[in-house]
Each structure stands twice: as structure tokens, then as C-alpha cells.
Symmetry: C2
Subunit: 433 residues, 2 copies
């Protein structure tokens, strides 16, 4: 039998998994602080439910792993956590709203494997169903800064609003049927030139007049740095109902962001357009300030229609939320060796027995009673055990021979500095705690 | 479209999932204290690997979910975490041993759905590969008591050793080919009578003479309470190499258990026989002391051969470890309402706005800066918000109207006692922290 990794499927060794758990622990802690509670939905799902046009949609369905159980039921593996949240609401009609939930779990997509695209990967989703108020959207922005601050990563956030974007298109006399296409073209502005985007718009049969008005509006807005001024400038030029709705929404959000003490790194970007298939109002992307990584590390937006459509319900389920990219955050943290050294590695200390192990077992037992992570190098010789401690980057080592057993004094070796101190067990505990 | 739960597949609402995360957090914390590190293996696996006769075996393979990806590869969903640990070692031949790993993750079995048997469920496994020393097995016993102590559950542990069990059979002149069958019959002793077991043994063609010797040995041992005395008594009657090996192993383990300060609730049970398909030496089961739940809540043992066989390797991979039953521990904890009230529920406080929400947002923002989990009842009227807080068992509520906004004094209502205190924000933080 040959042991091979499956294409696009990763398995995580302790060095990697420890960092991943460190990240998800910080996510969970902050999700809870902002009032979110965990749920766990199943990975296996009835194919019919996942295939609903109001679940993930046609494109994603092509990448869905399908299977049949022994009862000949058509099943599949979930490809996202969002529709699963909708199903949980459907299955629990008496559930009290708002549901503020987070879920961190595996999803599966049988798609082409490009760099960074996996077939089995973890999503970290945090959403509310049942809150219309845009202050909730502003809370997500505050939470995002809290999370990346605790992770030691500097980020900035870009926000736009679907109503602003489409309001600008309306003011530019673009036909509604072209809105999505124009948005997709505009979204490339950061990677390419205005000329290239104009060319693409022409190819999509957008009139010269519309293109002129559009870039006049956008360039005018971009000449201003302050979010509120940018918004007001656009408002003075876009007199339509859709834009006005977006304007009022963004004004509220700017205020709520301000109240929460966020003074910088939050930018209103009128060309930003993501997830237009489901976002209905504000939408935002989170980027690293100084990093080789240019893709977003988290993203979010308001999706007021999806649950209602999915449930085919009379009732409204306004919703807003975010997703955090575990893999990209992992890459960002491990880019920086200094940050990695901050980890509390397991174990903190390795006890190496030269003689009977009884004394060693007594020692680890006392360390653990004091919540210090400790191991014994049971089967290894001294040189091999020291090499192991070194390569595994274990912080401290104690070698226990006859002398130590008799004197009850142990040489605590700091593996980073190489220095050794003679200490009794209480002194060791005090030092390592 | 009809929304239905799949048979044997659960989805967990916040009330349940919070308890599950509380349990796994305690498991992880103790696993780390005892020097274990996390890994994450994939759920999708090549069918060929899962089907190896040294993986889960034939019976489990019948219950394996199979699927084919778009590249026509034959895949399956993992049905356990053990063989995945073996594969991780196979894929990383330069890995330094011992590997002390834990993994908490979903496994899948397409089997009959009985009470408590799920088709998609979570396993919590903690194992070492690369340590022969039986002190490691004794460490697991200490860790188990630490874990259940922290969970607030009183447990006792029963241990036996495959070599003791089979050594007794040898001393009873039972043929080796009948060992497994006799063990399976004996394991029923706790649920049925000696007479019934004797009858089963006769049906399996075990001679009267063997049955007599066997029960003479076992009843003799069971008349003694002390583990060491029981072991010595059996030794005086079982003079064979296999028994002697088991005897030496158990004597060491009893000593190591003693060194770690374990004085009670640990029982040597010479009839215990579980997992004889893979356990090679000591094996143990963990039970609740006072509970309606009679099945074990955790179990473990030494499995020195499995990885070597699975990898078809020259090298030995001695291994020992445990599995903790998340679902049964969940049931045990929720049996007892008092224990449930100890949970730190999310959120701790609900702010109900009667007027502008700006002041409320400022308030939650300050609470969260002080690590207090807080929510705003955005869209609800006062009566509905209070009802929500009540039913969701949120500990505190503040109603914020014009008066509160002006005076900056808030009525902090304790929802359990019904009492309200007038406090400013600093006093509230001090109280809730």
C-alpha cells in the first residue's frame, strides 16, 4: 500500500495545528465577547437541500461532493456554513431571534486545486439573523479590529454599500441589467489601470457617456480622503433613491464606528464590490497593512434576503456577518518568526531520566498539579532526548540521575540561553508558572 | 422543499454546543498539561487506505461512507481517528518520536441507528506513539481523574491486562483458539450471572474442568479488594510466562499510579476485556460513580502492534492512548441542572434601548473592552427584549432611556434575583468582571 496525500487535502502536524488552534481560540474568545454563541451543524446533508437555488447556487453545486448512503439516500458534503445556518432556523421554528451564532468547521469543494485552494478546508463564520439595525454591522468592524489586534496583525478595512454602488451606476445612466457586469469590471481597478477597466466596459457595451459620468463621480470621490466628505461629495452628485438609502446607511455606520472609538484604518471605498449575489447593503473586506499577502484575511456584509428565500418564508430574516480566513491568517502569522516565538509551546519542560523513573514521575506529577505542561523522555538516551528537546524547541530540560534523586535539587536548563540553575521542586514551579 | 433532519445525524444549537465546547476545552487543557499536542487529519481519505485490514477492520468497513470525486478517485469519509494517526506518521517519515497527539474531530459510520448511536459524531482521541514505558499508561490514569474532576463528575476506573486475562485462560487449560470467545463471554459477568456465563462457555465447548479452574481463579481473586493482593493471589495460582509478563506490567503500573498520588477509585478487574482486536497490554474503562449512565465515559489501552502492521514497517511503534466520549459526557453533565448553572453563559448582559442607540453602543463597547460579553436588543420592544433575556437566561439587563442617557446612571437588573442597582459604567464593569 502506498501512503499518499490526496490532492488539495491537507493534514496538520502539531507545529501547524498549535498555531491554528491559537488563532481559532482568539476568534472564539472575541466572538463570545461580542455576544455570539457556538453552533455545530452536520457535514453530511441531503443533496436536495444543498442544491436549492437559494443555498450556495449553481456554480458551487458543480463542486459539491455527492454520495449515497446504504439506505439509497442522496447525500452530499456541505460546501459552506451559511445555508446550514438557514436550515437550523428552519428546523427550529420556535427559536428565539436574534440568533447570534458562530461556527468553525470543515467544508468541502471538489474543485480545481490552485495555490491556496483546498478541497477540504475550515471556515470560521460569525453571523446574526434577526437584526436590522446597522449598528450591528458596525459592531463587526470593532470586533474585527479587536481580533487582529490580539493576533498581532495590523489590518485596514474597506467598506462599500451595494446601494451606493448601484446608486452611482444609476446616476451614470447605466442600465440596471449591466450593474453586476460593471461592478465586476470596477472591482479590478486596484489591480489594473482605469484605461483597462474603461476598455472592458466598452466591450460590455456601456455607453461612452455613462463611462465618462461614472469615472467623473468616482475620481471626484477618490480625491477626498475623509470617509464622510467622500460620502457627501458623492451625494451632491447622485440624486436617486437607491443612492440616498445607501447614503443614510453609511452615515449611520460611520457614526456607530466612531462611537466605538475606531479612529483609523477604516475606509469607505465606493468601487468595492464583492459577493453581489447575496450582499444587500454594507459589505467590507479586511486586508493586512504590511505583508506580502494581498488577498483579504476576512470579509463580511449584510445579507438580508438569503434566509427568507431559502426558507421560502413570509417572515423576514435580516442578517449580517463575516467570515475569517483561517489559512490566510495562519500564513500571515507564520510569515513572522518573532510572533511564533510568543507561543506557549507544549510541553514547557522535558524531564530526562538517567536512573529509575519514579522520581521523574513524581516531578512531572507535581508540575502538572501546578498547571505546567511537562513530559518525560521515557525510552530515550540522554543525547537523543536532549536533541529531541532542542529540535522540538522545548523551553526547559531537567536531567534526573542518582545525585538529583538523593539531593532533591535539580538542574533546570533553559534551552534558549543554555544556562542551568540548581533548584528544588518548589523553586522550579515558581519559576515556570 | 421539506427541511428534515437526516437519520442519525445531529445539529447542535447554542445551548447544547456551549456545553460541548466547555467539555472539549477542559479536555484540551488537560491534554496539553500532560504534554499532548493537537493534530488535524483530513475527513476525506483514499478508500484503499481506510480499507487496509490493519486500519479499522472488516466490520467497520461495511459502515464506511464511500464516494467518488470528479477525478474518479475512490474516496471515503474517515470512520475513526486512529488509522489517520498512523497515516500521518507514514507521510512524515522524518517525524521525531514520541508523537504525543490529540485530535478532536468528526467521524462517520453508515450503520444502524440505535439509541445514542450517530452516523456523524465527534471523537476525542489522545494517544502516544513511540513510548514503551508503562509509566505512560499510568499517566493516562492520572490525567483521566484530573479531567473528570474538573468536569465535576465522579468516576472510577477499571483496569485489566490482556496478558493477565489470557494467562488466566492458559492456567485454566483453555485452548488458545478459544481465548477471544471466552473473553467475550466473561465480559458479560457484570450484566448477568455466573451460571449464564458458564452455560455460554459450555455451548462454546469449553471443558468442565477448564470452567471449574477458571471460576475458581476468578472468584478467589474477586474475594480480595486490594489491587496488589488480588494480583499476588492470582500469581500464586497462574504459573505461566504470559501471566508473569502481565503481572510485572501491572505491578509497575500500580507503583506509577501510587507515585502520582492516586489513592482510590482505581480497580484491577481480571475479567475486564475490551478491544481485544487491538489492545496488547493494559486496557481500562472509565465509569461514572453515581449516574443512570452505565456505559463507560472514556476508555483506553496499549496498542503496540497496530501502527507497525498498518505501515508494514520493520520499525516498532509502541502506542498507548485513550478516547473520551463527548456525547456521553454531555449527557452526564446535563443530567445535573446544578452543574449547568455554573456555565458562563453568552452574553452576560443585554442592553435594551428605549431611545437612541448611540448611548447603548457606547456602553457595550466599554463592557467589551473589559472582556465582558454584552449584546444590544436592537430591534425589539421592551417587553419582548425582557422576555428574550429571561428565556435565554441572560444574567443581567440594563434598560437605557432618556433618563439614563442624561444621568449616566443605569439600573443593573440581576435577572436571577430580580433586584436592580443604580450604578455608573465603572461600577457596572467592576461588578460584572
Amino acid at each position: 500500500m502506498e501512503f499518499e496525500s490526496l490532492k488539495g487535502i491537507k493534514e496538520y502536524l502539531p507545529e501547524e495545528q498549535e498555531v491554528r488552534e491559537y488563532i481559532t481560540d482568539i476568534l472564539k474568545k472575541n466572538f463570545k465577547k461580542y455576544g455570539f454563541r457556538p453552533i455545530e451543524t452536520s457535514i453530511l446533508e441531503a443533496f436536495e437541500i444543498a442544491a436549492s437555488k437559494y443555498a450556495g447556487g449553481e456554480e458551487i453545486l458543480k463542486e459539491t461532493y455527492q454520495l449515497t448512503d446504504q439506505g439509497e439516500r442522496k447525500l452530499c458534503l456541505r460546501y459552506e456554513l451559511t445555508f446550514k445556518m438557514g436550515k437550523l432556523i428552519a428546523l427550529n421554528p420556535t427559536m428565539r431571534l436574534p440568533l447570534k451564532r458562530y461556527e468553525i468547521g470543515k467544508v468541502f469543494r471538489d474543485g480545481p486545486v490552485k495555490t491556496g485552494r483546498l478541497r477540504e478546508f475550515t471556515q470560521c463564520d460569525v453571523d446574526v439573523a434577526g437584526i436590522k439595525n446597522l449598528a450591528q454591522d458596525a459592531e463587526f468592524i470593532a470586533m474585527t479590529f479587536d481580533i487582529f489586534n490580539e493576533l498581532g496583525l495590523n489590518v485596514f478595512i474597506q467598506m462599500n454599500n451595494r446601494k451606493i454602488l448601484f446608486g452611482i451606476f444609476e446616476a451614470s445612466k447605466i442600465n440596471e441589467k449591466d450593474f453586476i457586469n460593471v461592478a465586476l469590471a470596477l472591482d479590478k481597478l486596484e489591480k489594473t489601470s482605469q484605461k483597462e477597466v474603461e476598455k472592458e466596459l466598452r466591450e460590455k457595451n456601456i455607453s461612452e457617456n455613462s463611462i465618462d459620468i461614472l469615472f467623473d463621480l468616482l475620481n471626484g470621490a477618490n480625491s477626498v480622503n475623509n470617509n464622510t466628505q467622500k460620502l457627501e461629495l458623492l451625494k451632491s452628485k447622485c440624486e436617486n433613491e437607491l443612492f440616498n438609502e445607501g447614503y443614510e446607511e453609511m452615515k449611520s455606520i460611520f457614526n456607530y464606528i466612531d462611537i466605538q472609538g475606531i479612529k483609523k484604518d477604516f475606509y469607505f471605498i465606493p468601487t468595492l464590490s464583492r459577493g453581489l449575489g447575496y450582499y444587500t447593503g454594507p459589505m467590507w473586506e479586511v486586508y493586512l497593512k504590511t505583508s506580502k499577502i494581498k488577498s483579504s484575511v476576512a470579509a463580511g456584509g449584510r445579507w438580508d434576503k438569503m434566509i427568507q428565500n431559502f426558507l421560502q418564508s413570509e417572515r423576514e430574516y435580516p442578517a449580517t456577518g463575516m467570515t475569517f480566513g483561517l489559512d490566510v491568517i495562519y500564513t500571515a502569522i507564520t510569515e513572522d518568526k518573532i510572533k511564533l516565538n510568543d507561543f506557549d509551546k507544549t510541553p514547557k519542560i522535558l524531564i530526562i531520566p538517567l536512573d529509575k523513573i519514579d522520581a521523574c514521575l513524581e516531578l512531572v506529577s507535581k508540575l502538572r498539579q501546578n498547571k505546567i505542561s511537562a513530559n518525560i523522555a521515557y525510552d530515550d538516551k540522554l543525547s537523543k532526548a536532549l536533541d529531541y528537546a532542542n529540535k522540538e524547541q522545548i523551553a526547559y530540560v531537567i536531567v534526573v540521575g542518582k545525585k538529583e534523586i538523593e539531593s532533591k535539587k535539580y538542574g533546570l536548563k533553559n534551552m534558549l540561553t543554555g544556562t542551568t540553575e540548581e533548584l528544588n521542586i518548589d523553586e522550579i514551579i515558581k519559576k515556570l508558572k
